[in-house]
Structure formats: structure tokens, C-alpha cells
């Protein structure tokens, strides 16, 4: 896959999983790599408009750890997850 047509697989949970109908979604990165976590979330909003309003409250996790919105992604093989607002307890 060329860098200008990069895509990453993002794990989905809760409402995102339910709306997408699957627990993983391929998010296409129109500008390739590198890109930021915030750009991934915005692209996800475009692909899942039913939950786009929740995206500003979501965080991206890479390899089981939260990353900041300006975190630069340069490894397509990491494990990505979108974490909507949590409600455990």
C-alpha cells in the first residue's frame, strides 16, 4: 500500500460498534502518512456520520494507551481503537 493511500484498522466499541455493525473498521487516510490522531477521528466521523456528533468527545488509543489529538501516527501496524466517552462503574 502506498503512503498516499494509507488505511488503518480501528477497533470499535459500544455505540460505534453497534452503528457500524462490526467491531473493526478500515479508516482511509486520504493524505496518507504521517497523520495525526485527530485526523483519524475526523475521517472516522466522515465514514460513520451517525456517530459524528460524538467524535469530539472521543479519544484514539494506540496499543492500549490513549494518545493526544496531535499525536503523529507513522506505524500502520499498531493496534488502533476509538474510545468514546466511557461509562463504567
Amino acid at each position: 500500500m502506498s503512503e498516499t493511500h494509507a488505511a488503518i484498522n480501528v477497533q470499535l466499541f459500544a455505540k460505534f460498534r453497534e452503528v457500524a455493525g462490526c467491531d473493526q473498521l478500515q479508516v482511509v487516510l486520504p493524505n496518507g502518512l504521517p497523520c495525526t490522531a485527530d485526523q483519524v477521528l475526523k475521517q472516522l466521523a466522515a465514514q460513520l456520520p451517525e456517530v459524528a456528533l460524538l467524535i469530539p468527545q472521543c479519544r484514539l488509543a494506540i496499543d492500549d494507551a490513549y494518545v493526544a489529538a496531535d499525536h503523529v501516527i507513522d506505524d500502520l501496524n499498531a493496534q488502533f481503537a476509538v474510545i468514546p466517552p466511557v461509562s463504567g462503574g
Binding site: 455505540k15 492500549d64 481503537a81 466511557v86 463504567g88 462503574g89
Partner: protein, 142 residues
């Protein structure tokens, strides 16, 4: 028994009490979060819950809970911390989460419980889905 766990069966306090045993501890404190029947919606209406379901990003949730337990130990000088969260269906009136801690004196154990719970509700990737009495369902994303 690992003191930080996600479980899919009922949480019984009696199973966990020994996890805090420490001869240097003078205080054991426990908090159980229990599934509740009534929820006040944003429009002020009371909704009646029939049952709740919890799901997690399991590997990340355990990692976050472990970090939380370690931070609480450092911050409050706790000797031991237990955090157990239940996943799957949790019928009304049953514990969805159990947090326990012990310290030399009661003040630290008392202070640690709300601190742990507040952070759990901010950062640990666990979500609940309400099923209301009319069978409508709703994921809670506060």
C-alpha cells in the same frame, strides 16, 4: 487472585475480602457500585431500567485499572488495592464494580475510594448499555 480483574460472573465481596489482608493495615475500605432501576433523563423524566450490560476494551481496561491502582497506592500510601469490574449482563441490584483498599490509618483508605472511582469513570474503557422496561436500549456515552 489478581487484585485487578474484569469478570463475567457476580461479584461477591466475601471472595475478595482476604485480598486486603496485611498485618500493617489498620483500615479496610470497600465500595460497590450497584446497578440501579431508576435514571433521571436530561428532560427530567424518570426512566426505568430493566437490565444493564457492560462491555470493555479488555486489554486496555485492565492496563488502565492497574495504572489506577498503582497511582492510588502512591498517592494515598495504600498497602493494597482491589478493583473488580463485571462485564456482560448485570441484573438490577447487583454489583457492577467493587473497589477495595487498605491503609495503616482510616483517613487514607476513605479518601482513596472516591478518587479511584472518579478516575475509573473518566478513563477506563468500559461502557454500559441500558435496556429500559419498554425494551429500548441505549449505550451510555456521557
Amino acid at each position: 487472585m489478581n487484585p485487578v480483574q474484569l469478570v463475567e460472573s457476580p461479584i461477591e465481596l466475601s471472595q475478595w475480602e482476604k485480598s486486603l489482608q496485611d498485618v500493617d493495615s489498620g483500615a479496610h475500605a470497600w465500595f460497590a457500585g450497584v446497578t440501579r432501576r431508576k435514571t433521571k433523563a436530561s428532560d427530567g423524566q424518570i426512566r426505568i431500567t430493566a437490565t444493564l450490560h457492560y462491555e470493555a476494551h479488555p486489554t486496555m481496561a485492565v492496563k488502565e485499572l492497574q495504572q489506577l491502582a498503582d497511582q492510588a497506592k502512591d498517592k494515598f500510601g495504600l498497602l493494597k488495592v482491589v478493583i473488580v469490574h463485571r462485564l456482560g449482563e448485570v441484573p438490577l441490584g447487583q454489583a457492577s464494580v467493587l473497589v477495595g483498599c487498605c491503609s495503616a490509618h482510616r483517613k487514607d483508605a476513605f479518601l482513596a475510594l472516591p478518587w479511584i472511582m472518579d478516575r475509573l469513570k473518566e478513563d477506563v474503557p468500559i461502557w454500559k448499555r441500558e435496556t429500559y422496561e419498554d425494551q429500548q436500549t441505549e449505550w451510555i456515552h456521557p
